[in-house]
């Protein structure tokens, strides 16, 4: 059986998944409807797995589908659904366009079993004990998300912001400038390392990342041992020409022994296409126990050594390139200068807890469940969600937090709760969200303009959607803010709007466990013009 269409199908499906998944992260204009997110991401293994055990609903069964698929067909997940895997295929493909055929060859290598099963084992044990920290660092979907959010999106927005003023000059406002909030440089550490590793390994060694670092790859590899369809040699037809081996990005085809290591095979079908003799089969049948007709040519060791990491000039270029890129990003997102107030404020904001997004129940639930894929950060229309640096501790680096200096939570918006694929932020209806108290506003009178300058301001009360922050009489014409705790939802509008520097006169301290806020009271009001049909002037 020699079915070339299988590879074409694999490429088509994988590109579709890659494009759709990327769009979710790159949609900086928030045009994609919320309902698409769960559909597109339903088959992502780690998010679906985590969500399943949170909501305990059979409707979140994506990871079961992947397991069944693997038991039938091998690791096709890694070749068609996993965005990080497909991204590596793309970079490997492109890099090979710039190399001779010979230089672009893959060679069979021994599996790095100790490394990959150790990583899988530690990740699994940690998970059993309730820590998702390693998953956060290693989950391929989340790493892909961060690559999109931290590198590709800023680039896209930068291009957008170059083009939009040019178009505005001819009165075309279809592209508008986007004010992307800068991500702290320190948070870039993990994404830079992972991106570097993924690019380097995919260009030099194909899918080595997936067969050493990735715990999902290792797990599905174990399952693949039992899969129904496998790649098998027809030893009678094989001439030992090594073409399949040269095409195998997993380096798992051992032509000498006529075996395929199914634990590392990502079922890309490249070997099927490469074999002109029909000697490589994707079949359910067991291999015939016959001796090979022709012994293969042994490949010389010198040929195998295609790449020597220690002396590679590309490495230096790569590191320099990354540094330049980082500098570029820092340049794009240079901090804005605010004019100072007449009298600088003196009392620092005292925040005991960071604020977690609505629907995340508690800091505990949120940090346990979130793999920091950054999708909610990209989906948030107000940029209030930003990656944390040390707010949740070192283990919570990159997990999103509500940053009220960057934005504030829109009262009517529940977008993050609808897009979160892992169940860290659980779905909320608009009405329910409006009574979730994520934190509480605290007023520092000594920092307030009304107190220090004796002039009216009221920016905080102006922005408050529930009037938990409202103005009360102070001196003569002056009014000063007051807070009502039981209707405050901790959305941060007051903190964001407060104009004092360096410290705000009103700030939100997070609730460790989210509480229920009361609904604001309503009262019937009179129309002042009702009594007369005339004009009051």
């Amino acid at each position: 059986m020699n079915v070339h269409w299988l590879k074409k199908l694999r490429v088509a499906v994988s590109l579709l998944f890659l494009i759709l998944t990327s769009l979710l992260f790159l949609d900086y204009r928030k045009m994609i409807p919320e309902s698409w997110f769960s559909t597109v991401l339903s088959l992502q293994f780690v998010p679906s797995f985590l969500k399943f055990f949170t909501v305990l609903k059979i409707s979140v069964f994506g990871f079961i589908v992947v397991i069944v698929m693997t038991l039938l067909f091998g690791r096709i997940y890694c070749s068609t659904i996993c965005p990080l895997g497909i991204l590596q295929d793309v970079t490997a493909y492109i890099s090979r366009k710039f190399r001779s055929k010979r230089k672009g060859r893959y060679y069979y290598r021994k599996a790095k079993n100790i490394l990959r099963y150790t990583i899988l084992g530690i990740t699994a044990v940690a998970l059993v004990f309730g820590s998702t920290y390693l998953l956060l660092l290693l989950d391929p979907y989340s790493n892909f998300g961060r690559i999109m959010t931290y590198f590709v999106k800023p680039l896209l927005v930068w291009v957008n912001n170059l083009l939009s003023p040019l178009l505005a000059r001819i009165n075309v406002y279809y592209l508008y400038p986007v004010d992307l909030k800068p991500i702290k440089a320190a948070v870039y550490i993990v994404p830079v390392i992972i991106l570097g590793l993924v690019l380097w390994l995919s260009v030099t060694r194909g899918r080595l990342y997936c067969n050493t670092v990735c715990p999902v790859g290792a797990f599905l590899g174990l399952l693949s041992k039992f899969s129904l369809f496998k790649f098998r040699f027809n030893t009678q037809a094989c001439t030992g020409c090594h073409l399949c081996e040269f095409s195998c990005k997993s380096s798992c085809i051992d032509v000498v022994n006529r075996t395929v290591d199914e634990t590392r095979c990502v079922t890309c079908f490249d070997c099927l296409t490469s074999c002109k003799l029909g000697a490589m089969n994707y079949t359910t049948r067991k291999a015939l126990k016959t001796d090979p007709v022709i012994q293969p040519v042994q490949i010389r060791k010198s040929n195998r050594k295609t790449f020597n990491g220690d002396h590679d000039p590309g490495k230096r270029v790569f590191i320099l390139g990354s540094l330049a890129f980082l500098a570029g990003i820092a340049g794009i997102s240079k901090a804005k200068e605010y004019p100072k107030n007449a009298k600088p404020t003196t009392i620092p904001e005292k925040k005991n807890f960071p604020v977690t997004p609505p629907g995340s129940l508690s800091i505990r639930h949120f940090t346990d469940q979130c793999t920091a894929c950054s999708l909610c950060i990209d989906a948030c229309p107000t940029d209030v969600l930003q990656p944390a640096f040390l707010q949740y501790g070192l283990a919570g680096i990159m997990q999103p937090t509500m940053d009220y200096h960057s934005g504030y939570c829109n009262y009517d918006c529940v977008r993050c709760t609808e897009v979160c694929p892992t169940g860290a932020i659980l779905p909320l209806k608009k009405e329910a969200k409006q009574t979730v108290q994520m934190g509480l506003a605290h007023f520092v009178k000594e920092n307030c303009v009304v107190y220090t300058d004796e002039t009216n301001c009221g920016a905080c009360a102006e922005h408050c959607p529930t009037k938990a922050v409202h103005m009360i009489p102070y001196k003569e014409d002056l009014v000063i803010p007051e807070t009502t705790d039981d209707i405050c939802i901790g959305c941060g509008a007051c903190e964001h709007a407060c104009p004092t520097t360096p410290f705000k006169a009103i700030y939100v301290d997070g609730n460790e466990i989210h509480k229920l806020a009361k609904k604001p009271k309503e009262e019937k009001l009179e129309n002042p013009l009702e009594k007369t049909e005339d004009f009051p002037f």
Binding site: D179, T382, E462, A497, L525, P528, E533
Partner: protein
């Protein structure tokens, strides 16, 4: 009045005028300044937002009095908040649509609308209904979301506000129309036409930090004043402004004020709201700084009841 009716009636009036002109002298028939003086302000009660504007602008001499053929018109509604039209935190979208239509009928080359919003701007534009209504009348929505759009100008008469960054659209416009909604306001008491112009500048925080009322009055002295002010008092937020908490903050006042003087507009609207204009500090300050006239007894007001 439906749009179709409006067009039919306008055409009818035109035909009548044409027929009359063939009979006699042109000048005595059209309402030119020589025939009788135009009012300083038109105040309307009891109609729908679009109908009230038709009547008011007709009393003010028609839109052709303000917009000439081929001109670029910029309309500044209040689109500050991400709330639906019935909450009255933003200017009534139907009124904005009718103003855009009048501008085009008067021969405007293009009509643009924008606001530097408080809530997320794309959501405000959409959920206020204003984006849809402006576009349906052939107008264009322009973003105001980044500092790049704003150019620094000097306020020679400003006391606390000496320099401010203003949206380039306002500086480029041939005709600038300020269309606020009348609302209660936590810190400034009321927000009307002068306060609405906080949405054409970039750094609002500076105003809040440096005597908000004085800054509002300072900006009202800027020489690029609105050519026309239309105060929407159809749905009026009596409490919890400027954002409002629920629909119960709103009463149906069904009123409108059209004038060229922001201070007069704000004074008249304050009276409708039941507030003494002199008790609103920025109105008093603006009057004292000669940005306009809050003494309504000195004005020729056309009062229209529908």
């Amino acid at each position: 009045m439906k749009r179709r009716d409006f067009f039919l009636k306008s055409a009818g009036v035109g035909l009548g005028l044409g027929a009359a002109m063939s009979l006699g002298s042109f000048k005595t028939l059209t309402a030119g300044p020589s025939a009788f003086a135009l009012p300083d302000m038109a105040a309307v009660r009891g109609g729908e937002p679009d109908v009230m504007f038709d009547r008011a602008i007709a009393a003010m001499g028609g839109m052709g009095h303000f917009v000439k053929k081929g001109q670029k018109v910029v309309v500044k509604p209040n689109i500050g908040w991400d709330v639906p039209p019935e909450r009255a935190a933003n200017t009534n979208p139907l009124l904005i649509k009718r103003i855009v239509q009048h501008c085009y009928q008067a021969g405007a080359k293009e009509v643009l609308a924008f606001d530097n919003t408080c809530d997320a701007w794309t959501k405000c534009y959409k959920d206020s209904g204003i984006e849809k209504y402006v576009k349906s009348a052939g107008g264009k929505m322009v973003p105001g979301n980044t500092e790049g759009f704003y150019q620094e100008i000097e306020l020679t008469q400003g006391k606390r506000l000496k320099k401010v960054k203003v949206h380039e659209l306002v500086l480029d416009a041939d005709v600038f129309i300020d269309v606020p909604v009348l609302k209660s306001h936590d810190a400034a008491k009321l927000t009307i036409s002068m306060k609405n112009l906080m949405g054409v500048i970039w750094d609002r925080r500076y105003w809040h930090r440096n005597d908000l009322n004085q800054c509002i009055a300072d900006y009202a002295t800027y020489s690029r004043k609105p050519d026309l002010v239309v105060v929407d008092a159809y749905n009026v937020m009596m409490k919890n402004g400027p954002r409002g908490v629920s629909k119960s903050d709103v009463v149906k006042m069904k009123a409108q004020i059209v004038t060229t003087d922001m201070v007069a507009a704000d004074a008249a609207a304050a009276k409708m709201f039941g507030v003494d204009p002199a008790s609103v500090r920025y109105i008093r300050l603006a009057h004292e700084m000669h940005a306009g006239n809050m003494d309504l007894s000195k004005l020729n007001i056309s009062r229209i009841k529908i």
